[in-house]
């Protein structure tokens, strides 16, 4: 939950913060316009009510704290001919590359994208040249300071390039992070982009992820969210040319009074594009989770194939999960599938395992790990998969 003492920032205070931000990364005028759009763009969520208490259209935070930010970004993984740099350095040395990405990524149409754009002063750029395969995963680690942070992550894969990018956050308690993922996957390129985080009670983590995939290119997006804080993701993937593919996998595991809120849209702009979304959600204690899954198939996207699978386990007596699919299909010759399940762990499954000697807790843990297995397997490295499995086990204990 956001700090109770804070109020939503006024326009003046947001403008002052935009004015104080690093002009080398973005000019003042563009920042000023972006923060105004933050105030006017809708969050796409319902107004607060008894269940959904937080007003996502007016988050409380102070954009202009007294101290200077000490956020840091670090990289690991051997890059070869690829480039991975802090955003400030990239702005000096790779302005052309940044422009190539930002021309195609419209952060301003997203509420939280606009906020991150207006106030960002740090982040990372990953650029992989054409037909180059970065063998090792590139790990970007954001070490967040205790004041609001607006990190932008920009990735450009030129035609035929391949890379795995893993984004990690080290958050202090009470962190307030609104970041972006701006991903361009050009023709025949392949990007595997993964992020996992635990957000403590009192912390807020928001991501606006916008992606474009070109002809015969593919993107695999994997996210895992744990914790008792507020986690918000707005993801929009555009399959721009024939043969473009997306696979999206998400683990939701809020606990305590956690609130997890994800809206994911995939746009089939061109024909013969395919998308597959798999969400496995389990809510413990009194936590709440919401998944808004949108499939948009545009008029010229014949031969597109979209599937959306969303399974939810209610673990706590007061936990709640909403799944709201929306299919907007403006073309005849397409395949679109949506399937969802929701419920508690099945008694027959528990009894079956107990009859084989497993005690009740082991049985529940085994079933829950099995439930998450397909999405855990969608993460790119063995160590990440193991740490996710450990986190799931710890959370279920």
């Amino acid at each position: 939950m956001p700090e109770g003492l804070l109020a939503p920032p006024t326009r003046d205070r947001l403008q002052s913060a935009a004015n104080a931000a690093d002009v080398r990364i973005l000019a003042h005028a563009a920042r000023a316009r972006a923060v105004d759009l933050y105030l006017t763009n809708p969050s796409g969520r319902t107004r607060p009510n008894r269940r959904w208490k937080i007003d996502l259209d007016a988050l409380a935070f102070d954009p202009l704290p007294a101290e200077a930010a000490k956020h840091e970004v670090a990289f690991s993984g051997s890059l070869g001919r690829a480039i991975a740099l802090p955003l400030a350095t990239a702005a000096r040395e790779h302005a052309e590359t940044l422009a190539h990405i930002t021309r195609r990524i419209d952060l301003e149409r997203s509420k939280f994208g606009a906020l991150a754009l207006g106030l960002s002063s740090f982040g990372a750029l990953v650029h992989v040249p054409a037909d180059y395969d970065v063998a090792e995963p590139i790990v970007i680690t954001y070490n967040i300071d205790a004041i609001p942070a607006f990190p932008r992550t920009l990735v450009l894969l030129e035609p035929g390039a391949r890379a795995t990018v893993i984004v990690e956050f080290v958050n202090p308690t009470g962190a307030f992070v609104v970041g972006t993922s701006e991903l361009i996957v050009e023709e025949r390129a392949h990007l595997h982009y993964a992020t996992a985080q635990r957000v403590d009670s009192g912390s807020v983590a928001v991501e606006c992820a916008l992606s474009h995939v070109g002809r015969d290119g593919s993107i695999a997006l994997a996210s895992a969210d744990f914790g008792e804080g507020l986690i918000l993701r707005d993801r929009d993937t555009s399959l721009d040319a024939s043969g473009a593919r997306m696979e999206q996998s998400a683990i939701f595991l809020p606990t305590g009074n956690g609130h997890l809120d994800v809206a994911a849209t995939v746009r089939h702009v061109a024909g013969n594009t395919s998308s597959q979304t798999v969400v496995k959600a389990a809510a413990g204690d009194e936590s709440i989770a919401r998944f808004l899954g949108n499939i948009v198939i545009l008029p010229h996207a014949a031969g597109s194939d979209a599937s959306l699978r969303d399974d939810a386990l209610i673990l706590g007596p007061k936990a709640h999960i909403d799944s709201v699919p929306a299919l907007e299909i403006a073309c005849n010759d397409v395949k679109a599938y949506h399937g969802a399940t929701i419920g508690a762990i099945d008694d027959e499954q528990i009894f079956y395992l107990r009859s084989r000697g497993l005690d009740e807790n082991e049985a529940r843990r085994t079933i829950a790990l099995g439930f998450f297995k397909p999405v855990v397997d969608a993460f790119p490295t063995a160590s990440l998969r193991e740490s996710l499995t450990r986190r799931i086990v710890e959370t279920l204990r």
């Binding site: 079956y352 084989r356 000697g357 497993l358 005690d359 790990l369």
Partner: protein
Amino acid sequence: MSETMGLRVAGLRATVENTEILRGIDLVVEPGKIHALMGPNGSGKSTLALSLAGHPHYQVTAGSATLDGTSMLDLSPEKRARAGLFLSFQYPAAIPGVKVANFLHAARQAVRPGSLAPAAFRAMLVEKMDILGMDPSFMGRYLNDGFSGGEKKRLEMLQMAMLAPKYAILDETDSGLDVDALRAVGDSIAALRASEEGRQAGMLIITHYPRILKHVTPDVVHVMMDGRIVLTGGHDLAERIEREGYDGIRDEVGARA
């Protein structure tokens, strides 16, 4: 043999959702013996099996059930399994995301802790799967997830072979199986009884049809109707049911009552 040995059920009554289904069951399966429990659909055979295994939906209201002298009715399902009871389910649950091999290992560890080194476990698995005519690819599949009826029953038999229980209840393991699968189930039971661990295993084979009994010869045959065992006899009783169905027995028992 000691008076306490065996799977001993006496005066067992059980209800489901406040309806009495078992109305006083008396049954003793001695170590090493094969009992068949036959009876028409709905007579309460699965209710008996699930009550003995400790299914929480079934309330035992009277009677006792002991396994080699250990009273089972107050034990959790997992403690009954660890005491040596195994139930082959009529309708095994599917558990997506849990690999058969990992599950078998966890179950073996739970029921017979530390009894097999990993290499010995794998060797045993290969041997038992071979007897059941199961493809090695089974090990990487998810537990009963998308399995055909026959595949589920073979996996139940594989679990029985790997856990080597003292007493096994097979609830219609034969139903829906083709001739080959039926023979594989028979071979698997024979192999368990020929093994060091399973030599003294007692079995209660629940079946609707006498077909399976051509592959496994029972020492004793019981007939269950309306929640009671109404007739007990030898192998010839199964043959009679094969010839006449249950109607003749129903009339005879009804006339006696």
